[in-house]
Every structure is written in C-alpha cells, then in structure tokens.
Amino acid sequence: MKEQPILEVSGLTKRFGVRAAVRDVAFELWPGEVLGIVGESGSGKTTLLNCVGGRLPADGGEVLYRTAAGPAVDMLALAEAERRRLLRTEWGFVHQNPRDGLRLDVSAGGNVGERLMALGHRHYGNLRQAAVDWLDHVEIDTDRVDDPPRAFSGGMQQRLQIARNLVTHPRVVLMDEPTGGLDVSVQARLLDLLRRLVREIGVSAVIVTHDLGVARLLADRLLVMKGGEVVEGGLTDRLLDDPHHPYTQLLVSSALSV
C-alpha cells in the first residue's frame, strides 16, 4: 500500500476579532516525521498548533486525520465525544509550561497512569509498573514515583509531561516550545531524550519552536510562519543553510550559529 500522510491540514484559518492570527495554512505530516514550525512570537505558530490540536476552535479549514482504525476523519467537524476520544487515545499535546499539562497535586506515577486508565487499564500493579518504566525512560529517579510534580524542578516536570503523553503510544504528538523556559544544559538533555523517544516509538510530531537550534536537532522538515501565514517550507537543513524567503534569511542570519 502506498504510504499516506497521517495528517493533512488545509485552509486553516483563525481570527481574533478582525485580525487573522492564522490565515489559510496547509501542511501534511507523514508517519514517523517530525515537522518543526518556526517563526517569531506573534507569527501565529502556537495558535496554529492549538487549532490543529483542538484546543482552540478554528474559523475555517480542515484537519484530516488518518485514524489507527483506518478511516480519515476531519477533526474539526467530528462530534465532540469522538474527537475527545481520539485526542485522548491517539494524540498527545506537550505544553510549553508543564503546569498546563500536569496535575500538580497528583503523584508523578498517577500523572503517567492517568492516561492509561482513560484507555480502560485498571490493574494497579501494571499501571504502577508502566509509570515506573516511563519515569526511568525520561530519566526521572524512580524513587520519586509517589512525589507530586509540584516538588519537581522545571526540567523534571517537562520530562514527566512527556512521559504522561507518550505512555499511551500516541500516533501524533503536538509540542509547543517543549524546551522553552529551561536552562541550556537541561534543554540539551530534553532534546536528546526527545530525539531518542521519537525514533523508538516512531511517533509523528509537530513541534513549535522559536529556537532554530532546536528545530535543526529535532525536525525533519520545517515551516516558517510570519503574520499568520507559511512563507517557506522544506527540508530542515536546506531551509536553514539555503533560505530563500527574505523573512527566513532574516531569521537565520539573526540566530546565533545554527
């Protein structure tokens, strides 16, 4: 069978009042691919991600998703219950601020196990074992399984959020500035971890970042956004080493060595 994109976004538009934050954006995401979306703050990249991930209602367009069961569905037109089920079972969303993606007063193990329980897993021993395994995967000391993330550092919280998302083996993960707000050394560890997990699980991911270094390390392909529109797209190293659009040239020349 010919391989098909797992996600096909077209005509996506989102207005805040009269201003279009995202205007007529289209892209595809292929199985196992990491797509980076770069641009300055205010370019619309986070709004785009939120619309694709069903966290903000779009004003127009289509988000065609090829489900695990086979048929393609438009996530924007789907009945609420079915959409929520897919988002919970086949998708993941990693927030820039881990506090938005974690339950701070529930134990680390509980945060990881919760998504499995939502899928119907009930056996306590298995849930706990999965939680311990995943903490280990994301390099959190497994002694901390009963501690609430409120007591964790920012880097640990972010790794926990990633574990919580990946434990159910989602097919699509959307990440909003996953390394934003972390120290450079903590960032390097997280990037290394993300690269490894993406390969091991074979997940397809969309990563929004303003950091071209992060984009270079993680993404197979990039889209550059400006003023709510995609101005250039292509292979990551082609786009960064041979940028064509004036805005991409400006971005690349403004960054510290990428």
Binding site: L217, L235, R238, D241, Q249
Partner: protein, 236 residues
Amino acid sequence: MRADEPALRIRSLRKSFTLHLRGGVRLDALRGVDLDLFPAECVVLRGPSGAGKSTLMRCVYGNYAADSGSIRVAHDGSTVELVGAAPRQVHALRRGTLGYVSQFLRVIPRVSAIDIVAEPLLARGVAPADACKRAASLLERLNIPARLFDLPPATFSGGEQQRVNIAHVFIARYPILLLDEPTASLDEANRAVVIDLIQEARRDGAAILAILHDATAREALATRIFELAPRLAEVA
C-alpha cells in the same frame, strides 16, 4: 547499480543565491554544470575558491536547492530526480544512497561518538548491539582511543571530530559518496587510513565525488578531474 550506468547524472545545473538582506544581490554559483559519475570512480572537483565546488556537492546532497537543471540519482533499482524532490524523497536518498562527509562535524549535545557513528545503521534497522560493535571497530581503525567512544565529540580535537564524521558516513557503505575535504585536518598517519578507506569503498563500487586540496590524497584517489570554471561577475 550497473557499472555502465551513471550513479549520478547532472545536467544544466544552475544555482544562484539571492541575498534579500543585501538589497537583493544575486550570486551565480553554478551556471549550467553537466557531470556523470559512475560506480567505482573517484571524480575530484577542481577550481579556484568560489568556483562552486562545495555548492555543487551540497546541491547533490539536497542541502542546497538548485534553481534549475537535473540531478538524477540511481537509487534502489531506479533513478530519482533530486531537483525539486519532496523532503521525504531526499531523506530516503540520504538514508540509502547518498553519504556526505562535510568539512565539519555538527555535534549534538550529549550524544556520544559511538552513537553518532552507529546512527546510520540504526536508521536502517540494524540491531543496536551489532551497530555498536561495527561502530567501535571502525573508530578503532581510525585511531580514536576507546576511552573517547562514550564521550560527546564536542571536546575532541579537530582531527578527532573529522574522523568521527568520516566513520559516521563510511559505516553505512553508501553507493554514492560526497566528500568535502575529508583529509583536511588530519596528520599523516590518519590521512593514510582515510585514503585507504576511500580507496576500499571505491573498489567495492562506490561512486565518489570529492573535493581534495591535499595533493597526496588527490594523487592517490582521483580517477578523473572535473574542472569548475571560476564564477563570473555578480549580477545586481
């Protein structure tokens, strides 16, 4: 790949750079290059600095997007047009067919030398233990001390980084090799090892396109020289 059919067929290849931040100045880097590269030959690109040697190589790797012309690559039993190819297609070519030794190793924080070298094998589905064993033996051959294997190469010397870079490409036995100054920062002993590696790859049938300023390496390896004319005046 058949020995009498080119591994790489380049026709009328043009590449320019438009510098929008410099008032739209256009630099013509390649003005219609024609080149065939066959299996088991090593074509060395020659020309003055700025003639477009690295640019040509980067176009063939898909790192630069050519303006026009054609680059046909023998891949997986058929030929693939690289100019205008989709990113996924370029990735497939890089995974299976095109190996590129750049002038500098791009180090990734926290990733060890041995993992960098094993990576192309893992991407092809080789078992991790096997991939690591092969990576270690290649690094040994390139005189990288075993105590460095598990360290990220950020702190290595220039010559050590270059040898990691070479190992990263040569481990995968690509049918087409693009080598941009592979021996530039190596001492004599290591240069000899790298020359042997390249020679072996060529005898095994690899089609090699190289930039070699070092005369010893060039004389040992070149089966043919390809001249690139110096760039003409810039057009505003």
